[in-house]
Each structure stands twice: as structure tokens, then as C-alpha cells.
Amino acid sequence: MLTEREFTAAAERYLDMAYRIALNWFRSVPDAEDAAQEALLRLWRAETVFLDEDHLRRWLARVTLNVCKDISRSPWRRHTVSLEMVREPAFSDPAREELFRAVMAMPGKYRIPLYLYYYEGYSVAEVGELLRLNPSTVQTRLARARAKLKTELTEE
């Protein structure tokens, strides 16, 4: 269980991670915000012993994914998650904006492994563990995601 000070410090460090995972999952800012907040609430309430910083980060990543699943199943969830509804962040470079659009246009099964692997730096095996997928499945999805992105960006 975290003290107030530890929770605040952890929230400062990992809120963006939870939010980005959720944004990759939903492609919807309001849903991503709901999920990130719920994940951090579970961190505040959790009684898990965090053996080190990496354990806490992995725990929060996994809980965020669980929360995203829960919200997806909820009958109350908004179903308006078409690409047009994505509120895009303001990017400082057109190439980044283009890449963000291309990522968001991909199916979720590619977006999430790609984010965990490319941005959070998890290994293929760790991504598999987080998503409960075989490493070979993760490898395949990462390869397809990269290929799709390359095609998408070249075509534009």
C-alpha cells in the first residue's frame, strides 16, 4: 500500500503512461481519461506490495489494460469511437501528426502491443505477459503493425 506521498509521486510519473495506454485502447479522450483515473484509483486503494519501481509500473500497466477491458464491456460506455471523434493532440511536427493518425487508424490489436513495445520499452515476452498473448502472436502483430504503418505513411 502506498503512502499519500508515494502515491502522488507515482501518479506524477505514470499518469501519462496509463492515459496513453487507454488512449491507444479507446481512441477516445473521454474514455481514456475515465480509464486512467480508474487505474490510478486502484493504485491508491491497492494493497499490493511493490517490490521495486519496475514492479509498480508493470502492475499499473496491467491494471490499466484490465480497466480498459472492463469499460469496453460496460453497457454504459459511449459507442461513438469512430476515428472522426478522436480529439487529436496538437503536435509540433506534421510528421508526428501523420504518424499519430496512422497509428489510430490501425486496429486495437496492433496499437496496444506497438505502444508497449515501442514506447514503454517492454520486450516481446513482457508484452505477451501483459496482454496474455503468446510471444509469437505478439511478434506477428508487431511485424504487421510496422508493415501497416510503413504502407500508410508511404502512401500519404
Binding site: F7, Q37, R45, E47, V49, N66, Y119
Partner: protein
């Protein structure tokens, strides 16, 4: 591609509104420190007092002692037994250090089994009156370190963390800070039953309301001795089974807890790896399910806690929760986990 991807997501951040909401989570859910239900007679008395006060509600004065702060947190007049207990657990320290023209004094300490409250006073600055408590986590003591070493037998106590339940300055500009030190106690060891040498280091107080502002800055070091308070009183529940949640795979599981004990400053239990083989990874128990029922019918939630893993006895997790104020154990009736009641006598 990877570099561009990273640069792209570097620019994606949670909104400031979400950040504020998350930082405010500590104000709710896990903690509801005050008693939930006042006995009818007490409620009537409180209503009379409120009626007599009329509509003008005067600002509360800054507590001048730990006892005053506990009394305020309790929210209603304390029984004599509880006041006497707090007096017995509290001792004067009175050591000071000066830096940058500011004298900080460790005024007094209240010692629990695995929690230590320290009241600090800082003088020598021209502060405007203000008050901060648990509901307003904007103030942080900088560079805090606390080392507690038992005199004689026993292991050095590891530091788990600090809370700042209260900070405030009154009309005279003296800053009062109440620190709650949360140690990781070795199994079977209590802060209350031995003499401990304390060393405290701090580097100031900072306000963080989106913008970090130093209230004061410097270096202060203190050495003091904590004397044993009284014989440790324990109400034992023994071994119980409660429901927890395993995150991978996601399911409700039964968790066996041993050595469940209630003391005047909190409660604790042990979770052994032998009985709960997967406990190290992803099981959690909702801490909000725990309640203490008092003889007068009111309920008390804990005020947070710490949990640590120990390799002893084949691996175990030891969890300590704290009451917001020390509790007179003669007033305690039962410990609850959800709908399950464990009578205490």
C-alpha cells in the same frame, strides 16, 4: 520509425484537469478517517452546540499540541480513557536546530506500535496564517529522513514513508507541522516497547499547487530518544480467511491471513506465501473493507497503512494499518471485513 513513434507519443499527455483529479484521489475512497456514525446522545449534544454557535463559524485555531490535533480529528469529545491513553503514548522531545535564521523544534512524539507522530514547530519566519490537513495534500516536507535504532536488542527500523497530516501557522507566525512516520517494523517488534534512538533530517517545506513554492528552506538535523511507552496491549483475532482479488487471471480468491491483531494505534496481519502461493504478484485485498466497531456503535475506518514482504517463515507479507488517532481498546467491540465480523474482547 521507432524514434518518430516515441517523439509522437512524447507529445501526448494527460490533461491538467485529469492530473488534478488524480492528485485529489487521496482525499477520498481509501480514507474516511472520522467516525461514521455518532451515538444518538452525542449527536444531540453536537446539534445543541452547533445551534448555540449560530451561523457564524469561527476558524479553528492551529493545534498547539499533538493531543489537541488528535482531539480535533476525533470530531467529538473524547472519553477520559482515550485522552489518558494518548497522554501515555505522548512524550516531550524538545530538541532544536537552527538554519537560515529559522529554528525548528521537535516538540513531542506520540508512539504507536508501528507508527510515530512527531510535532515540529518552526519559528523565525513571517508566515501568513494558513492551515493544511489531510484533505489538502499540497504541502510536502523536503528531504525527510528518519532513522530509528533500538537500544539493546532488536533490528534497526526501516523507513517506509512519511505523511504530513497537518501543517499550519497561527497569528504569531509559528509553523506547526505534524509528521507521521510509517516504519517497516520487523516482525514481533513494536516501537512502543523499547527505547529507540531517533535521527531526523529535513530540508524545508514546499507548497505544490501546480507551482512549487518553498515555504522555507535549509538543513535541520535532530537526535532524540524515544522511551518505551507502556506494555503493548493487543486484541488478537488469530487466523481468518477473507476474499481478495487476483489480477492475473482475474478472479476472486480466498486469502488466508494469520496473526490478525488490533492495537490502540492500528491493526496488522501476516499473509504467508505457503498458504497463498501467488500472493507476491497480483493479489490485492480492498483495504476499504476493514472497519473497527466501537462499543458505542460507531465505526472507525483505518487511515492508511503499509505492507512489506519478508523472507522469514518461507516468505510472508506483513501489513500494518493505522488509526487516525490512538483508540482506547476497552472501547473496541469488533473488527469487520466486509460483512464478516470478528469480535474482540
Amino acid at each position: 520509425m521507432k524514434k518518430l513513434y516515441q517523439e509522437t507519443f512524447d507529445e501526448i499527455h494527460a490533461s491538467e484537469a485529469l492530473r488534478q483529479e488524480v492528485m485529489n484521489l487521496t482525499r477520498q475512497e481509501r480514507r474516511s478517517p472520522r467516525r461514521h456514525r455518532l451515538p444518538a446522545a452525542m449527536l444531540a449534544a453536537v446539534l445543541v452546540v452547533i445551534a448555540l454557535m449560530g451561523t457564524a463559524v469561527a476558524a479553528l485555531a492551529v493545534p498547539g499540541s499533538i493531543q489537541e490535533w488528535f482531539a480535533r480529528q476525533w470530531g467529538s469529545p473524547m472519553e477520559k480513557g482515550q485522552t489518558e491513553l494518548i497522554d501515555r503514548l505522548t512524550q516531550e522531545i524538545g530538541v532544536s536546530d537552527t538554519d537560515n535564521g529559522i529554528t525548528v523544534t521537535v516538540d513531542s512524539a506520540t508512539i504507536g506500535d508501528s507508527v510515530l507522530w512527531l510535532l515540529l514547530k518552526a519559528e523565525g519566519q513571517d508566515l501568513q496564517p494558513f492551515q493544511h490537513d489531510n484533505t489538502n495534500p499540497e504541502y510536502f516536507v523536503q528531504g525527510l529522513k528518519c532513522k530509528l535504532t533500538p537500544e539493546g536488542e532488536g533490528e534497526e527500523v526501516a523507513e517506509y514513508g512519511f505523511d504530513l497530516p497537518f501543517a499550519g501557522a497561527g497569528e504569531d507566525g509559528t509553523l506547526m507541522m505534524l509528521l507521521r512516520f510509517l516504519p517497516v517494523m520487523p516482525e514481533g517488534q513494536s516501537l512502543a516497547d523499547g527505547t529507540y534512538r531517533g535521527e531526523l533530517h529535513m530540508e524545508g517545506l514546499q507548497k505544490n499547487d501546480g507551482q512549487k513554492t518553498d515555504i522555507f528552506r535549509g538543513t535541520w538535523d535532530f537526535s532524540f530518544t524515544l522511551e518505551p511507552t507502556e506494555e503493548r496491549q493487543v486484541l488478537s483475532v488469530g487466523a481468518i480467511t477473507v476474499s481478495g482479488e487476483r489480477l492475473e487471471p482475474r478472479e476472486t480468491v480466498e486469502v488466508e491471513l494469520q496473526n490478525v491483531e488490533v492495537t490502540s494505534t492500528g491493526f496488522c496481519y501476516t499473509m504467508a506465501e505457503e498458504e497463498n502461493p501467488e500472493f507476491k504478484d497480483m493479489i490485492h485485498i480492498l483495504s476499504g473493507n476493514w472497519k473497527l466497531e466501537l462499543q458505542d456503535g460507531s465505526e472507525l475506518s483505518h487511515n492508511g497503512g503499509v505492507s512489506h514482504w519478508s523472507p522469514e517463515n518461507g516468505g510472508q507479507r506483513i501489513t500494518h494499518y493505522y488509526w487516525l488517532t490512538p483508540i482506547d481498546l476497552t472501547q473496541v467491540k469488533a473488527l469487520w471485513f466486509g460483512d464478516d465480523c470478528y469480535p474482540l474482547s
